[in-house]
Amino acid sequence: MSTVIKGGLVIDQTGERTADVVVDDGRIVAVGTDLSGDEILDASGCVVAPGFVDLHAHLRQPGAEEAETIETGSWAAIRGGFSAVVAMPNTNPPIDCAAVVQEVLALGAKAPCDVYTSGAITVERKGAQLAPMAEMAELGVRLFTDDGNGVQEAGLMRRAMEYAAGLGVILAQHCEVDSLAAGGHMHEGEWSSRLGIPGVPAEAEELMVMRDIALSRFTGAPVHFQHLSTRGSIAMVRAARQAGVAVTAEAATHHFTLTDEDCASYDPVFKVNPPLRPADDRDAVREGLADGAVDAIATDHAPHTMDAKERPFDQAPPGMLGLETALALALTELNLPVAEVVGLLSWRPAAIAGLKGVHGGPIVPDAPANLCVFDPQETWTVDPHDTASRSRNNPYAERTVRGRVRHTIVGGQTVLVDQVMRP
């Protein structure tokens, strides 16, 4: 059975054109005018884009199924227009060996989007001993991170980079120097001072960015910086790229949308790691996404139960939902051409995750049919209860945003039609 996406503006890395797209048997079979198919998906007034790729999703399985499962998180991804997500390894047990990778991939095989997993850099993400990266790489793991923690020890990070480069995989770093960040629960600055909440200084992130740029230059191994949140970090990455160092970077949706002032409500829904920063840092994240210093938008989708997010601010876990709102916030907040937003969400992260040719376009005959159709003009109001996620820790409640996903196609299967999930 074939599906035709009618009347949309097709956007991929090769440009834009108004065209119909026909999908059959998992592949794009035709792109052109006046095409037909067995099922018709209306795309008039909409953009037809490569399915989005999230480099940074916490799917919580195994271990925290009360907050999210690979299945529920994948449906949230589908509602957000993502055809692929990279799961973070801070599960219980952590994804630090072949057995857990296999478990996650087996669950992911039944999920509506393509689920890739990262692997931990160190055993149990404890930063002491290298995890068996080769056996995980054999199973297809392309991105390694201790996310949730940074690798504290410079000597160990050096060895990890050398080892990873030999395997042709990439290391991704959650940049945070523990000895500066320990005990902190929000950005250290004017607001933490007023609110009496212990802070995490920007320097906790920037010192590790600085160190890993030096190590990347030294070893020649690529390193990807996760969820950069400060002006200093972004400036260093920009300069390092110009100097030819093999670094890439992502920014999380909330770091270009929210600021530390949001914590003044003491609502732990605004607690996240790295923390929300002042407006100047938020603006720097926007600038970095606009000028290419930052490659990709990642969601850092981090579900937590209501109970966990109703604890006192300093006892609640960090993290917020992001998969279902990423596109709309990017279109609403970034002031970038739609095509650039699409790139930040699709072909650019796909390249970092090693998914080129599978996800992220281009939209041409014979390519795998991983697509997303969205209306760039539709405005809607975020309702935390209207979600596919098992959790509700959405910090954008009652915010009116612009841009809404209509249809999502993964591997040729239409899994979302007019925002309605089709299991």
């Binding site: 250290e188 600055g189 004017e190 933490s192 001072s193 007023r194 609110l195 009496g196 909440i197 212990p198 802070g199 200084p201 409500s265 003491y266 609502d267 109970d307 109703e310 604890r311 006192p312 601010f313 300093d314 006892q315």
Partner: protein, 312 residues
């Protein structure tokens, strides 16, 4: 005003109103039967997650002198140990219909969170490093009582300001009433971004001692040594302690204040506490009248009603 979470909820006018009411309640407290029926039929629930005998007792006495019923809830010993969340506890207490919850918690912001879970008024009795508004109010009342006014006074706040909820409330209260506040501490015990606070900062107590109307000492805890914020308490006392020698250099009539409990011999010498310009006992005494004023402001049906008028 429904809640008292921060001194900012009151502003200068609100602080002055509390002080005016506290004058009336001080008079009530001196009567043979120190009780008025102003809050008869109202219930005040105490929700203390942190031991604080003096603050809790002060609120309880204040509520009883206004004829309110007091609901004690001994959180530390019961439900918290069974893993009950703050929200569950607040729901349980709220089901009993209190008019106000007095909340003390070791984490900043818990009183704010509680307002979302109850229809009762919420009074912040100290939350983490954030605020302790009724302490600042009784301190304003004490300064006003001793020196006539807070406006124009030069007030030195001395000690561990970074970790002090009292300091945050006092800075707001004193400056909104027009005092000039100078924080004195080693840099490691100052809050971050202190330049955004409406204060002067000095690292030397000796430099400001002879030029102030009030020295307000804060408790310096032993943990600060282990956290590498101080080399040693001995060095702290030598540099920043209010020793007998330093107290002797204070201008005549300058007050020595402290929210208690005092680490005797660390931040203030015991002899200094016994001098007539030390106000620690008055602060405790004024605490009752000031908390009566706060409860009255929040709970009385007609806050303009004069309490004597209602006295039976």
């Amino acid at each position: 005003m429904k809640h008292l979470l921060s001194i900012n909820d009151l502003g200068a006018d609100g602080i002055n109103e509390v002080c005016r009411l506290a004058d009336l309640f001080t008079e009530v407290s001196q009567r043979p039967i120190p009780k008025v029926p102003a809050l008869r039929g109202k219930t005040v629930a105490m929700l203390f997650y942190e031991d604080s005998t003096r603050t809790r007792l002060s609120f309880e006495v204040a509520a009883r002198r206004l004829s309110a019923d007091v609901m004690g809830f001994s959180v530390s010993s019961s439900s918290v140990n069974k893993g009950e969340s703050v929200r569950d506890t607040v729901n349980t207490i709220s089901a009993m219909g209190p008019d106000a919850l007095v909340v003390r918690h070791r984490s900043a912001g818990v009183p704010h969170q509680v307002t979302g879970w109850t229809s009762a008024g919420v009074i912040n009795a100290g939350d983490g490093w954030h605020e302790h508004p009724t302490q600042a109010l009784l301190d304003c009342y004490t300064i006003r009582d001793r020196l006539g006014s807070v406006a124009g006074r030069r007030i030195v706040i001395l000690g561990d300001i970074k970790h002090s909820r009292v300091a945050r409330s006092c800075v707001m209260a004193f400056t909104s009433l027009g005092a000039k506040v100078t924080l004195v501490a080693p840099p490691t015990l100052l809050p971050p971004a202190v330049d955004s606070w409406p204060v002067d900062v000095s690292f030397s107590l000796d430099a400001v001692l002879s030029d102030c109307d009030v020295v307000y000492g804060l408790r310096v805890q032993h943990e600060r040594q282990a956290e590498a914020l101080l080399p040693s308490l001995r060095e702290y006392t030598a540099q920043w302690g209010l020793t007998v020698d330093r107290a002797a250099r204070l201008p005549v009539g300058a007050l020595v204040m402290h929210p208690g409990p005092v680490n005797r011999g660390v931040e203030i010498a015991p002899e200094v506490l016994d001098q007539p310009n030390a106000t620690l006992n008055e602060q405790v005494r004024h605490g009752v009248a000031v908390r009566m004023a706060v409860l009255y402001l929040l709970l009385a049906a007609d806050p303009d009603l004069h309490p004597e008028g209602e006295a039976s």
